[in-house]
Protein backbone atom coordinates (compact mmCIF):
# COMPACT_ATOMS: atom_id res chain seq x y z
CA UNK A 1 0.00 0.00 0.00
CA UNK A 2 2.75 2.46 0.95
CA UNK A 3 4.61 1.75 -2.30
CA UNK A 4 1.52 2.71 -4.29
CA UNK A 5 0.92 5.71 -2.01
CA UNK A 6 4.48 6.95 -2.49
CA UNK A 7 4.33 6.48 -6.24
CA UNK A 8 0.94 8.29 -6.38
CA UNK A 9 2.32 11.15 -4.30
CA UNK A 10 5.37 11.52 -6.56
CA UNK A 11 3.26 11.31 -9.69
CA UNK A 12 0.81 14.00 -8.58
CA UNK A 13 3.67 16.20 -7.43
CA UNK A 14 5.00 16.14 -10.99
CA UNK A 15 1.64 16.67 -12.68
CA UNK A 16 1.03 19.85 -14.64
CA UNK A 17 -2.35 20.24 -12.91
CA UNK A 18 -0.59 20.49 -9.56
CA UNK A 19 1.84 23.10 -10.87
CA UNK A 20 -1.08 25.05 -12.38
CA UNK A 21 -2.90 25.02 -9.03
CA UNK A 22 0.35 26.11 -7.38
CA UNK A 23 0.52 29.21 -9.60
CA UNK A 24 -3.20 29.86 -9.04
CA UNK A 25 -2.61 29.63 -5.28
CA UNK A 26 0.18 32.20 -5.36
CA UNK A 27 -2.00 34.62 -7.38
CA UNK A 28 -4.87 34.03 -4.96
CA UNK A 29 -2.71 34.68 -1.90
CA UNK A 30 -1.38 37.92 -3.40
CA UNK A 31 -4.94 39.07 -4.13
CA UNK A 32 -6.01 38.06 -0.62
CA UNK A 33 -3.20 40.15 0.88
CA UNK A 34 -4.32 43.15 -1.17
CA UNK A 35 -7.99 42.70 -0.19
CA UNK A 36 -7.13 42.32 3.50
CA UNK A 37 -4.91 45.37 3.37
CA UNK A 38 -7.70 47.52 1.94
CA UNK A 39 -10.24 46.03 4.34
CA UNK A 40 -8.16 46.74 7.42
CA UNK A 41 -7.55 50.33 6.25
CA UNK A 42 -11.23 51.08 5.65
CA UNK A 43 -12.89 49.04 8.37
CA UNK A 44 -12.09 51.28 11.28
CA UNK A 45 -13.96 54.15 9.70
CA UNK A 46 -17.17 52.06 9.96
CA UNK A 47 -19.86 52.70 12.50
CA UNK A 48 -19.97 50.61 15.60
CA UNK A 49 -18.04 47.66 16.97
CA UNK A 50 -20.56 44.98 15.96
CA UNK A 51 -20.59 46.10 12.32
CA UNK A 52 -16.82 46.03 12.30
CA UNK A 53 -16.66 42.47 13.69
CA UNK A 54 -19.30 41.28 11.23
CA UNK A 55 -17.52 42.82 8.26
CA UNK A 56 -14.13 41.48 9.28
CA UNK A 57 -15.49 38.03 9.98
CA UNK A 58 -17.32 37.91 6.68
CA UNK A 59 -14.24 39.08 4.81
CA UNK A 60 -12.00 36.50 6.41
CA UNK A 61 -14.48 33.69 6.12
CA UNK A 62 -15.74 34.38 2.63
CA UNK A 63 -12.64 35.70 0.90
CA UNK A 64 -10.17 33.71 2.94
CA UNK A 65 -11.56 30.37 3.97
CA UNK A 66 -14.40 30.07 1.44
CA UNK A 67 -12.23 30.58 -1.62
CA UNK A 68 -9.48 28.50 -0.05
CA UNK A 69 -11.89 25.62 0.43
CA UNK A 70 -13.06 25.99 -3.19
CA UNK A 71 -9.44 25.98 -4.34
CA UNK A 72 -8.70 22.83 -2.33
CA UNK A 73 -11.89 21.19 -3.63
CA UNK A 74 -10.93 22.13 -7.20
CA UNK A 75 -7.44 20.67 -6.74
CA UNK A 76 -8.88 17.51 -5.21
CA UNK A 77 -11.32 17.01 -8.07
CA UNK A 78 -8.65 17.65 -10.72
CA UNK A 79 -6.19 15.24 -9.13
CA UNK A 80 -8.61 12.49 -8.22
CA UNK A 81 -11.09 12.06 -11.07
CA UNK A 82 -8.63 9.88 -13.00
CA UNK A 83 -6.92 8.26 -10.02
CA UNK A 84 -7.78 4.73 -11.14
CA UNK A 85 -9.59 5.26 -14.46
CA UNK A 86 -6.67 7.04 -16.16
CA UNK A 87 -4.35 4.18 -15.20
CA UNK A 88 -6.86 1.74 -16.69
CA UNK A 89 -7.18 3.89 -19.82
CA UNK A 90 -3.43 4.11 -20.46
CA UNK A 91 -2.65 0.56 -19.35
CA UNK A 92 -0.27 1.47 -16.51
CA UNK A 93 -2.40 -0.54 -14.12
CA UNK A 94 -1.83 -3.77 -16.10
CA UNK A 95 1.76 -3.96 -14.96
CA UNK A 96 0.89 -3.09 -11.36
CA UNK A 97 -2.04 -5.39 -10.58
CA UNK A 98 -0.16 -8.41 -11.91
CA UNK A 99 2.44 -7.94 -9.20
CA UNK A 100 2.03 -9.57 -5.77
CA UNK A 101 -0.15 -6.82 -4.32
CA UNK A 102 -3.79 -7.01 -3.31
CA UNK A 103 -6.30 -4.86 -5.12
CA UNK A 104 -7.35 -3.19 -1.86
CA UNK A 105 -3.72 -2.21 -1.27
CA UNK A 106 -3.75 -0.49 -4.66
CA UNK A 107 -6.98 1.40 -3.90
CA UNK A 108 -5.92 2.41 -0.38
CA UNK A 109 -2.47 3.40 -1.66
CA UNK A 110 -4.03 5.64 -4.30
CA UNK A 111 -6.25 7.27 -1.67
CA UNK A 112 -3.46 7.67 0.85
CA UNK A 113 -0.93 9.14 -1.60
CA UNK A 114 -3.41 11.72 -2.90
CA UNK A 115 -4.76 12.47 0.58
CA UNK A 116 -1.31 13.19 2.02
CA UNK A 117 -0.56 15.65 -0.75
CA UNK A 118 -3.92 17.37 -0.39
CA UNK A 119 -3.52 17.60 3.39
CA UNK A 120 -0.10 19.22 2.95
CA UNK A 121 -1.47 21.66 0.40
CA UNK A 122 -4.47 22.43 2.63
CA UNK A 123 -2.21 23.00 5.64
CA UNK A 124 -0.14 25.44 3.59
CA UNK A 125 -3.20 27.33 2.37
CA UNK A 126 -4.93 27.42 5.77
CA UNK A 127 -1.79 28.68 7.48
CA UNK A 128 -1.20 31.22 4.72
CA UNK A 129 -4.73 32.68 5.13
CA UNK A 130 -4.25 33.05 8.89
CA UNK A 131 -0.75 34.54 8.51
CA UNK A 132 -1.95 37.03 5.89
CA UNK A 133 -4.88 38.00 8.14
CA UNK A 134 -2.50 38.53 11.08
CA UNK A 135 0.06 40.47 9.06
CA UNK A 136 -2.76 42.63 7.62
CA UNK A 137 -3.64 43.48 11.24
CA UNK A 138 -7.16 42.11 11.08
CA UNK A 139 -7.64 42.14 14.83
CA UNK A 140 -10.39 39.49 14.96
CA UNK A 141 -7.81 36.81 14.13
CA UNK A 142 -6.48 37.19 17.65
CA UNK A 143 -9.84 36.07 19.07
CA UNK A 144 -9.94 32.74 17.24
CA UNK A 145 -7.98 30.64 19.73
CA UNK A 146 -5.57 27.85 18.86
CA UNK A 147 -8.03 25.06 19.67
CA UNK A 148 -10.71 26.53 17.40
CA UNK A 149 -8.18 26.98 14.61
CA UNK A 150 -6.93 23.40 15.01
CA UNK A 151 -10.49 22.04 14.98
CA UNK A 152 -11.27 24.29 12.02
CA UNK A 153 -8.32 22.81 10.15
CA UNK A 154 -9.67 19.30 10.70
CA UNK A 155 -12.93 20.35 9.03
CA UNK A 156 -10.95 22.20 6.36
CA UNK A 157 -9.27 18.92 5.35
CA UNK A 158 -12.38 16.81 5.90
CA UNK A 159 -14.02 18.41 2.86
CA UNK A 160 -11.32 17.41 0.29
CA UNK A 161 -10.93 13.99 1.91
CA UNK A 162 -14.67 13.41 1.46
CA UNK A 163 -14.55 14.59 -2.15
CA UNK A 164 -11.55 12.31 -2.63
CA UNK A 165 -13.41 9.24 -1.38
CA UNK A 166 -16.39 9.67 -3.70
CA UNK A 167 -14.11 10.62 -6.58
CA UNK A 168 -12.07 7.47 -5.94
CA UNK A 169 -15.26 5.43 -6.09
CA UNK A 170 -16.30 7.13 -9.34
CA UNK A 171 -12.83 6.55 -10.75
CA UNK A 172 -13.18 2.80 -10.23
CA UNK A 173 -16.57 2.83 -11.97
CA UNK A 174 -16.46 5.42 -14.75
CA UNK A 175 -14.10 6.88 -17.31
CA UNK A 176 -12.09 9.93 -16.21
CA UNK A 177 -14.19 12.49 -18.10
CA UNK A 178 -17.50 11.05 -16.94
CA UNK A 179 -16.28 10.89 -13.36
CA UNK A 180 -15.17 14.52 -13.58
CA UNK A 181 -18.62 15.58 -14.75
CA UNK A 182 -20.32 13.60 -11.96
CA UNK A 183 -18.06 14.94 -9.20
CA UNK A 184 -18.29 18.58 -10.34
CA UNK A 185 -22.09 18.20 -10.56
CA UNK A 186 -22.17 16.75 -7.04
CA UNK A 187 -20.02 19.57 -5.70
CA UNK A 188 -22.25 22.20 -7.31
CA UNK A 189 -25.32 20.38 -5.96
CA UNK A 190 -23.82 20.67 -2.48
CA UNK A 191 -23.27 24.42 -2.90
CA UNK A 192 -26.81 24.97 -4.19
CA UNK A 193 -28.24 22.73 -1.44
CA UNK A 194 -26.34 24.73 1.17
CA UNK A 195 -27.70 28.03 -0.13
CA UNK A 196 -31.26 26.59 -0.25
CA UNK A 197 -30.95 25.42 3.34
CA UNK A 198 -29.70 28.86 4.40
CA UNK A 199 -32.40 30.71 2.50
CA UNK A 200 -35.02 28.32 3.89
CA UNK A 201 -33.79 29.08 7.42
CA UNK A 202 -33.81 32.83 6.73
CA UNK A 203 -37.32 33.00 5.34
CA UNK A 204 -38.57 30.20 7.61
CA UNK A 205 -39.56 28.01 4.67
CA UNK A 206 -39.39 24.37 5.80
CA UNK A 207 -39.78 22.89 2.29
CA UNK A 208 -36.79 24.82 1.02
CA UNK A 209 -34.77 23.77 4.07
CA UNK A 210 -35.74 20.12 3.57
CA UNK A 211 -34.67 20.16 -0.08
CA UNK A 212 -31.43 21.79 0.99
CA UNK A 213 -30.84 19.15 3.68
CA UNK A 214 -31.50 16.30 1.22
CA UNK A 215 -29.03 17.87 -1.23
CA UNK A 216 -26.52 18.15 1.60
CA UNK A 217 -26.97 14.47 2.43
CA UNK A 218 -26.15 13.57 -1.17
CA UNK A 219 -23.34 16.11 -1.39
CA UNK A 220 -22.21 17.12 2.10
CA UNK A 221 -19.18 19.18 1.04
CA UNK A 222 -20.68 22.62 1.72
CA UNK A 223 -21.94 21.46 5.12
CA UNK A 224 -18.37 20.69 6.14
CA UNK A 225 -17.32 24.21 5.17
CA UNK A 226 -20.12 25.68 7.30
CA UNK A 227 -19.05 23.52 10.21
CA UNK A 228 -15.48 24.72 9.81
CA UNK A 229 -16.51 28.38 9.81
CA UNK A 230 -18.79 27.97 12.82
CA UNK A 231 -15.94 26.17 14.64
CA UNK A 232 -13.40 28.89 13.94
CA UNK A 233 -15.82 31.73 14.69
CA UNK A 234 -17.11 29.87 17.71
CA UNK A 235 -17.31 33.01 19.87
CA UNK A 236 -19.57 34.73 17.38
CA UNK A 237 -22.34 32.15 17.14
CA UNK A 238 -24.02 30.92 14.01
CA UNK A 239 -22.80 32.11 10.66
CA UNK A 240 -24.89 32.60 7.57
CA UNK A 241 -22.94 33.31 4.37
CA UNK A 242 -25.85 35.18 2.88
CA UNK A 243 -26.49 37.70 5.63
CA UNK A 244 -23.56 37.45 7.97
CA UNK A 245 -23.73 36.77 11.70
CA UNK A 246 -26.54 37.21 14.09
CA UNK A 247 -29.40 37.24 11.66
CA UNK A 248 -32.85 36.16 12.77
CA UNK A 249 -34.08 32.67 11.88
CA UNK A 250 -33.15 29.09 12.67
CA UNK A 251 -29.51 28.36 13.43
CA UNK A 252 -27.82 26.70 10.44
CA UNK A 253 -24.69 25.34 12.08
CA UNK A 254 -24.40 21.67 11.06
CA UNK A 255 -24.93 19.30 13.95
CA UNK A 256 -22.45 16.78 15.34
CA UNK A 257 -24.60 14.05 13.82
CA UNK A 258 -24.19 15.60 10.41
CA UNK A 259 -20.44 15.37 10.87
CA UNK A 260 -20.79 11.74 11.94
CA UNK A 261 -22.78 11.22 8.74
CA UNK A 262 -19.97 12.84 6.72
CA UNK A 263 -17.40 10.49 8.27
CA UNK A 264 -19.59 7.48 7.51
CA UNK A 265 -20.06 8.86 3.95
CA UNK A 266 -16.28 9.11 3.53
CA UNK A 267 -15.56 5.59 4.81
CA UNK A 268 -18.51 4.13 2.89
CA UNK A 269 -17.20 5.31 -0.48
CA UNK A 270 -13.69 4.06 0.24
CA UNK A 271 -15.19 0.72 1.23
CA UNK A 272 -17.34 0.65 -1.92
CA UNK A 273 -14.28 1.47 -4.06
CA UNK A 274 -12.42 -1.48 -2.57
CA UNK A 275 -15.41 -3.79 -2.87
CA UNK A 276 -16.26 -2.83 -6.45
CA UNK A 277 -12.64 -2.91 -7.60
CA UNK A 278 -11.95 -6.33 -6.08
CA UNK A 279 -14.05 -8.02 -8.75
CA UNK A 280 -13.56 -5.59 -11.60
CA UNK A 281 -12.28 -6.91 -14.91
CA UNK A 282 -9.24 -4.92 -15.96
CA UNK A 283 -8.42 -4.94 -19.63
Amino acid sequence: MFIIALSTFKEIYRKKTFHFIGILTIIYLILLTIIFKFTSNNIYSNNGMIDMIVNLSSTISIVGFYFSSILVAFLTIMLSIGMVSSEIENGTILTILTKPIKREEYILGKYLGTAVLIILYSAFLYTAVIIISTVSKISIVGTFGTAALAKGFLFFILQPLTILSISLYGSTKFKTLNNGIVIVALYVLGLIGGVMEQVGACIKNDSLSTIGIISSLISPFEVIYRKMISTIFTSLGTFNPISGFGIPGKPTTPSVWMMVYVCVYLVFFIFMSIKGFAKKDIG
Binding site: G91, L94, T95, T98, K99, P100, G283
Partner: protein, 304 residues
Protein backbone atom coordinates in the same frame (compact mmCIF):
# COMPACT_ATOMS: atom_id res chain seq x y z
CA UNK B 1 7.04 -36.78 -16.08
CA UNK B 2 6.44 -33.44 -17.80
CA UNK B 3 6.47 -30.50 -15.43
CA UNK B 4 3.52 -28.33 -16.45
CA UNK B 5 3.61 -24.63 -15.66
CA UNK B 6 0.22 -23.77 -17.18
CA UNK B 7 -2.79 -26.07 -17.26
CA UNK B 8 -6.23 -24.86 -18.23
CA UNK B 9 -9.45 -26.79 -18.20
CA UNK B 10 -12.34 -25.38 -20.25
CA UNK B 11 -11.27 -21.87 -19.28
CA UNK B 12 -13.70 -19.29 -20.63
CA UNK B 13 -13.97 -15.55 -20.37
CA UNK B 14 -16.97 -14.25 -22.24
CA UNK B 15 -17.86 -10.58 -22.37
CA UNK B 16 -21.35 -9.12 -22.59
CA UNK B 17 -20.99 -8.79 -26.37
CA UNK B 18 -20.38 -12.57 -26.47
CA UNK B 19 -16.73 -12.08 -27.47
CA UNK B 20 -13.77 -13.40 -25.52
CA UNK B 21 -12.35 -16.90 -25.31
CA UNK B 22 -14.17 -20.12 -24.55
CA UNK B 23 -13.33 -23.63 -23.33
CA UNK B 24 -9.59 -23.26 -23.67
CA UNK B 25 -7.62 -26.38 -22.74
CA UNK B 26 -3.87 -26.05 -22.95
CA UNK B 27 -0.83 -27.45 -21.19
CA UNK B 28 2.48 -25.63 -21.24
CA UNK B 29 5.60 -27.54 -20.24
CA UNK B 30 8.44 -26.04 -18.24
CA UNK B 31 11.23 -24.42 -20.23
CA UNK B 32 9.43 -24.08 -23.56
CA UNK B 33 8.39 -21.07 -25.58
CA UNK B 34 4.68 -21.52 -26.15
CA UNK B 35 3.13 -19.51 -28.96
CA UNK B 36 -0.51 -18.49 -28.71
CA UNK B 37 -1.55 -17.51 -32.19
CA UNK B 38 -4.60 -15.93 -33.64
CA UNK B 39 -5.85 -13.06 -35.74
CA UNK B 40 -6.61 -9.71 -34.11
CA UNK B 41 -9.69 -9.95 -31.92
CA UNK B 42 -9.50 -13.75 -31.64
CA UNK B 43 -9.35 -13.65 -27.84
CA UNK B 44 -5.59 -14.00 -27.27
CA UNK B 45 -5.21 -11.02 -24.95
CA UNK B 46 -8.41 -11.93 -23.10
CA UNK B 47 -6.94 -15.36 -22.40
CA UNK B 48 -3.58 -14.04 -21.20
CA UNK B 49 -5.27 -11.40 -19.00
CA UNK B 50 -7.41 -14.12 -17.46
CA UNK B 51 -4.31 -16.18 -16.71
CA UNK B 52 -2.51 -13.29 -15.01
CA UNK B 53 -5.57 -12.39 -12.91
CA UNK B 54 -6.65 -9.14 -14.56
CA UNK B 55 -9.88 -10.69 -15.81
CA UNK B 56 -12.09 -13.06 -13.88
CA UNK B 57 -13.00 -16.26 -15.76
CA UNK B 58 -16.63 -16.88 -16.64
CA UNK B 59 -16.13 -20.63 -16.21
CA UNK B 60 -13.44 -23.30 -16.15
CA UNK B 61 -10.21 -23.65 -14.19
CA UNK B 62 -6.59 -22.85 -14.63
CA UNK B 63 -3.44 -23.54 -12.68
CA UNK B 64 -0.26 -21.55 -12.97
CA UNK B 65 2.85 -23.18 -11.51
CA UNK B 66 0.52 -25.57 -9.72
CA UNK B 67 -1.65 -22.90 -8.05
CA UNK B 68 -5.00 -21.40 -9.04
CA UNK B 69 -4.89 -18.18 -11.05
CA UNK B 70 -4.84 -15.00 -8.98
CA UNK B 71 -2.72 -16.55 -6.20
CA UNK B 72 -0.55 -13.74 -4.80
CA UNK B 73 2.43 -15.96 -4.01
CA UNK B 74 2.50 -17.17 -7.61
CA UNK B 75 2.71 -13.58 -8.83
CA UNK B 76 6.16 -13.40 -7.23
CA UNK B 77 7.22 -16.08 -9.73
CA UNK B 78 5.67 -14.74 -12.94
CA UNK B 79 6.38 -11.78 -15.19
CA UNK B 80 3.94 -10.10 -17.55
CA UNK B 81 4.37 -7.64 -20.38
CA UNK B 82 1.01 -6.32 -21.61
CA UNK B 83 0.30 -5.47 -25.22
CA UNK B 84 -1.03 -1.94 -24.85
CA UNK B 85 0.45 -0.17 -21.91
CA UNK B 86 2.18 3.02 -20.98
CA UNK B 87 4.70 3.40 -18.23
CA UNK B 88 4.91 6.57 -16.17
CA UNK B 89 6.81 8.79 -18.60
CA UNK B 90 8.15 11.02 -15.84
CA UNK B 91 10.09 8.08 -14.41
CA UNK B 92 13.57 7.13 -15.52
CA UNK B 93 14.18 3.51 -16.46
CA UNK B 94 15.87 3.10 -13.08
CA UNK B 95 12.89 4.66 -11.22
CA UNK B 96 10.55 2.27 -13.00
CA UNK B 97 12.63 -0.79 -12.19
CA UNK B 98 12.98 0.32 -8.54
CA UNK B 99 9.22 0.85 -8.33
CA UNK B 100 8.47 -2.57 -9.81
CA UNK B 101 11.05 -4.29 -7.64
CA UNK B 102 9.26 -2.79 -4.60
CA UNK B 103 5.99 -4.15 -5.98
CA UNK B 104 7.69 -7.55 -6.14
CA UNK B 105 8.70 -6.88 -2.51
CA UNK B 106 12.41 -7.32 -3.18
CA UNK B 107 14.71 -5.98 -0.50
CA UNK B 108 17.03 -3.08 -1.36
CA UNK B 109 20.15 -5.18 -1.84
CA UNK B 110 18.65 -7.85 -4.07
CA UNK B 111 16.72 -5.14 -5.90
CA UNK B 112 19.83 -3.29 -7.05
CA UNK B 113 21.57 -6.54 -8.02
CA UNK B 114 18.51 -7.65 -9.96
CA UNK B 115 18.14 -4.29 -11.71
CA UNK B 116 21.73 -4.51 -12.94
CA UNK B 117 21.12 -8.05 -14.12
CA UNK B 118 17.90 -7.33 -16.06
CA UNK B 119 19.36 -4.20 -17.66
CA UNK B 120 22.13 -6.44 -18.94
CA UNK B 121 19.67 -9.00 -20.31
CA UNK B 122 17.60 -6.44 -22.22
CA UNK B 123 20.68 -4.51 -23.28
CA UNK B 124 19.65 -1.19 -21.74
CA UNK B 125 22.75 -0.57 -19.67
CA UNK B 126 23.61 3.12 -19.94
CA UNK B 127 20.05 4.22 -20.77
CA UNK B 128 18.58 3.57 -17.32
CA UNK B 129 18.96 7.16 -16.14
CA UNK B 130 17.02 8.63 -19.07
CA UNK B 131 13.31 9.33 -18.73
CA UNK B 132 11.00 6.71 -20.19
CA UNK B 133 9.27 9.44 -22.20
CA UNK B 134 12.47 9.78 -24.23
CA UNK B 135 12.76 6.03 -24.99
CA UNK B 136 12.07 4.61 -28.45
CA UNK B 137 9.28 2.02 -28.80
CA UNK B 138 11.83 -0.79 -28.81
CA UNK B 139 13.49 0.55 -25.66
CA UNK B 140 10.08 0.86 -23.97
CA UNK B 141 9.32 -2.76 -24.79
CA UNK B 142 12.72 -3.80 -23.47
CA UNK B 143 12.33 -1.86 -20.22
CA UNK B 144 8.91 -3.51 -19.95
CA UNK B 145 10.49 -6.93 -20.32
CA UNK B 146 13.16 -5.89 -17.81
CA UNK B 147 10.53 -4.99 -15.21
CA UNK B 148 8.78 -8.31 -15.82
CA UNK B 149 12.09 -10.11 -15.21
CA UNK B 150 12.85 -8.47 -11.87
CA UNK B 151 11.41 -11.32 -9.84
CA UNK B 152 13.51 -13.87 -11.76
CA UNK B 153 10.25 -15.38 -13.07
CA UNK B 154 9.81 -19.03 -13.85
CA UNK B 155 7.09 -18.09 -16.29
CA UNK B 156 6.92 -15.01 -18.47
CA UNK B 157 3.78 -13.83 -20.28
CA UNK B 158 4.49 -11.65 -23.29
CA UNK B 159 1.49 -10.17 -25.07
CA UNK B 160 2.39 -9.12 -28.63
CA UNK B 161 5.85 -7.94 -27.55
CA UNK B 162 7.04 -7.18 -31.07
CA UNK B 163 3.94 -6.10 -32.96
CA UNK B 164 4.67 -2.36 -32.75
CA UNK B 165 8.38 -2.67 -33.44
CA UNK B 166 10.54 -2.27 -36.52
CA UNK B 167 12.54 -5.29 -37.79
CA UNK B 168 15.58 -4.43 -35.67
CA UNK B 169 13.43 -4.00 -32.57
CA UNK B 170 11.73 -7.32 -33.30
CA UNK B 171 15.03 -9.11 -33.58
CA UNK B 172 16.22 -7.60 -30.31
CA UNK B 173 13.11 -8.79 -28.47
CA UNK B 174 13.31 -12.19 -30.17
CA UNK B 175 16.91 -12.56 -29.06
CA UNK B 176 15.86 -11.73 -25.51
CA UNK B 177 13.21 -14.47 -25.63
CA UNK B 178 15.76 -17.01 -26.83
CA UNK B 179 18.17 -15.85 -24.13
CA UNK B 180 15.43 -16.40 -21.54
CA UNK B 181 14.70 -19.85 -22.89
CA UNK B 182 18.39 -20.61 -22.56
CA UNK B 183 18.11 -19.59 -18.92
CA UNK B 184 15.41 -22.22 -18.42
CA UNK B 185 12.44 -19.83 -18.29
CA UNK B 186 9.07 -20.69 -19.75
CA UNK B 187 7.72 -18.05 -22.13
CA UNK B 188 4.06 -17.77 -23.06
CA UNK B 189 4.00 -15.66 -26.20
CA UNK B 190 0.86 -14.08 -27.63
CA UNK B 191 1.44 -13.13 -31.21
CA UNK B 192 0.00 -12.85 -34.65
CA UNK B 193 3.44 -12.69 -36.24
CA UNK B 194 3.63 -16.22 -37.60
CA UNK B 195 7.20 -16.19 -38.89
CA UNK B 196 8.40 -15.08 -35.49
CA UNK B 197 6.48 -17.83 -33.70
CA UNK B 198 7.77 -20.41 -36.18
CA UNK B 199 11.32 -19.25 -35.54
CA UNK B 200 11.34 -19.43 -31.77
CA UNK B 201 8.40 -21.43 -30.38
CA UNK B 202 8.45 -25.06 -29.31
CA UNK B 203 4.67 -25.46 -29.14
CA UNK B 204 1.73 -23.47 -30.43
CA UNK B 205 -2.00 -23.15 -30.07
CA UNK B 206 -4.02 -21.43 -32.75
CA UNK B 207 -7.14 -19.61 -31.62
CA UNK B 208 -9.91 -18.35 -33.83
CA UNK B 209 -13.12 -16.64 -32.72
CA UNK B 210 -12.36 -17.42 -29.10
CA UNK B 211 -11.72 -21.17 -29.48
CA UNK B 212 -8.61 -23.24 -30.08
CA UNK B 213 -8.60 -24.76 -33.55
CA UNK B 214 -5.20 -26.48 -33.44
CA UNK B 215 -2.40 -27.04 -30.97
CA UNK B 216 0.71 -29.10 -30.55
CA UNK B 217 4.48 -29.19 -30.93
CA UNK B 218 5.46 -26.93 -33.78
CA UNK B 219 7.59 -29.63 -35.44
CA UNK B 220 4.62 -32.03 -35.41
CA UNK B 221 2.32 -29.41 -36.88
CA UNK B 222 4.75 -28.57 -39.65
CA UNK B 223 5.87 -32.14 -40.35
CA UNK B 224 2.32 -33.33 -40.93
CA UNK B 225 2.09 -30.87 -43.74
CA UNK B 226 5.02 -31.67 -46.00
CA UNK B 227 4.12 -31.55 -49.70
CA UNK B 228 6.06 -33.69 -52.18
CA UNK B 229 6.62 -32.62 -55.79
CA UNK B 230 7.63 -35.78 -57.71
CA UNK B 231 8.82 -35.67 -61.31
CA UNK B 232 8.18 -39.12 -62.87
CA UNK B 233 7.49 -41.22 -65.99
CA UNK B 234 5.92 -44.66 -66.58
CA UNK B 235 3.49 -44.42 -63.70
CA UNK B 236 0.97 -47.27 -63.68
CA UNK B 237 -2.46 -47.22 -62.11
CA UNK B 238 -1.20 -49.75 -59.59
CA UNK B 239 1.47 -47.29 -58.39
CA UNK B 240 -1.09 -44.48 -58.25
CA UNK B 241 -3.48 -46.62 -56.20
CA UNK B 242 -0.71 -47.37 -53.72
CA UNK B 243 0.20 -43.67 -53.49
CA UNK B 244 -3.44 -42.74 -52.93
CA UNK B 245 -3.46 -45.07 -49.95
CA UNK B 246 -0.80 -42.83 -48.41
CA UNK B 247 -2.58 -39.58 -49.41
CA UNK B 248 -6.03 -39.75 -50.93
CA UNK B 249 -5.62 -36.23 -52.37
CA UNK B 250 -2.67 -37.28 -54.56
CA UNK B 251 -2.70 -35.58 -57.99
CA UNK B 252 -0.95 -36.73 -61.19
CA UNK B 253 -0.77 -34.76 -64.46
CA UNK B 254 1.19 -37.33 -66.51
CA UNK B 255 4.61 -36.04 -65.49
CA UNK B 256 4.28 -34.74 -61.94
CA UNK B 257 2.78 -36.17 -58.81
CA UNK B 258 1.80 -33.88 -55.94
CA UNK B 259 1.01 -35.40 -52.57
CA UNK B 260 1.15 -34.76 -48.80
CA UNK B 261 3.07 -36.82 -46.30
CA UNK B 262 2.53 -36.93 -42.59
CA UNK B 263 5.97 -38.17 -41.59
CA UNK B 264 9.36 -37.82 -43.21
CA UNK B 265 9.76 -41.65 -43.22
CA UNK B 266 7.00 -41.84 -45.82
CA UNK B 267 9.23 -40.08 -48.37
CA UNK B 268 11.51 -43.10 -48.59
CA UNK B 269 8.52 -45.44 -48.84
CA UNK B 270 7.04 -43.41 -51.76
CA UNK B 271 10.34 -43.44 -53.69
CA UNK B 272 10.61 -47.25 -53.24
CA UNK B 273 6.98 -47.71 -54.40
CA UNK B 274 7.57 -45.80 -57.63
CA UNK B 275 10.86 -47.52 -58.50
CA UNK B 276 9.76 -51.05 -57.56
CA UNK B 277 6.51 -50.57 -59.56
CA UNK B 278 8.48 -49.81 -62.74
CA UNK B 279 8.17 -46.06 -62.68
CA UNK B 280 11.06 -43.70 -63.47
CA UNK B 281 11.88 -41.26 -60.71
CA UNK B 282 13.65 -38.07 -61.91
CA UNK B 283 13.08 -35.79 -58.99
CA UNK B 284 11.49 -35.64 -55.54
CA UNK B 285 11.33 -32.32 -53.70
CA UNK B 286 9.70 -32.06 -50.24
CA UNK B 287 8.18 -28.65 -49.44
CA UNK B 288 7.52 -28.03 -45.79
CA UNK B 289 4.36 -26.01 -45.31
CA UNK B 290 5.01 -22.88 -43.28
CA UNK B 291 3.06 -22.08 -40.15
CA UNK B 292 1.45 -19.32 -42.16
CA UNK B 293 0.01 -21.89 -44.63
CA UNK B 294 -1.43 -23.91 -41.76
CA UNK B 295 -2.71 -20.82 -39.98
CA UNK B 296 -4.47 -19.38 -43.03
CA UNK B 297 -5.98 -22.77 -43.88
CA UNK B 298 -7.31 -23.13 -40.33
CA UNK B 299 -8.61 -19.60 -39.99
CA UNK B 300 -10.22 -19.59 -43.43
CA UNK B 301 -11.60 -23.06 -42.80
CA UNK B 302 -13.04 -21.84 -39.54
CA UNK B 303 -14.65 -18.89 -41.24
CA UNK B 304 -16.30 -21.11 -43.79
Amino acid sequence: MINLVIETENLSKIYENNKGCRNINISVAKGEIYGFLGPNGAGKSTFIKTLVGLLFPTSGNARILGKPIGDLEIRKRIGYLPELFKYQEWMTGLDLLSFHSSLYKLDKKSSSTKIEEVLEIVNLKGAEKSKIGTYSKGMQQRIGIASALLCDPELLFLDEPTSALDPIGRKEVRDIMLKLKGMGKTVFLNSHLLSEVEMICDSVAIISKGSIVKQGKIDDLLEGNTVLDIHVENISNEILNKLEKIDEDTTFDGKNIKMHVKENSEIHEIASLIISGGGKLYGLVPHRNSLEDIFIKLIEGGEE
